[in-house]
Amino acid sequence: MILKIAGACLIAVLGFMLLKKDRADFAFVLEVCTTAGLLLFILPYMENLIDLFLQVSDTVKINFDFSEILVKVCGIALVARLVCELCKDAGEQALAVKFELAAKVLILINAVPVFKALYGILSAFVENLL
């Protein structure tokens, strides 16, 4: 299995080498296609892992159920890393940094309930102390 992926990557890099010199745009298109194909290949296994994680987190029912938020944040981080690295490879450092910032903001937006719960616990804790 891993050999198949390794072979595909090596072939893709060979394609990049050929196209990088005079046709940089095709190299980028090829890169996008390779990363997309690789992720499509890996995602079913990732889905199984996520289902396992959700089942485990359902059984261990602590009072805060943040597993959905965790999975959503993982998805955002995955896509953010994908596009950010593609931008970096294409040489667009500024765009990559801005996109990373946008992804971080979105992740924080999704994590607002977690912060609310944390704030609730802390304030309750402080009230008990005083």
Binding site: A8, C33, L39
Partner: protein, 64 residues
């Protein structure tokens, strides 16, 4: 599954590169830009389904 797409796009790229060399040698430089754009569009059309399936799959897996 994605090996043949890689080959196809690499082939399109190389063909466009060779075509541009030929065109520039034969003096018709204005056509090189057209062939480059045409080749790029073909390559993009080839990978479009892959990228869209990838994003819809990520959306379904992580229920974004």
């Amino acid at each position: 599954m994605e090996i043949d797409v890689i080959f196809k796009i690499a082939a399109v790229g190389i063909i466009v590169a060779v075509l541009n060399q030929i065109l520039s040698r034969s003096g018709r430089d204005e056509y090189t830009m057209i062939t480059t754009i045409a080749g790029l569009i073909i390559a993009l059309m080839m990978i479009l389904p892959y990228v869209s399936t990838l994003f819809s799959y990520i959306r379904s897996v992580f229920d974004l």
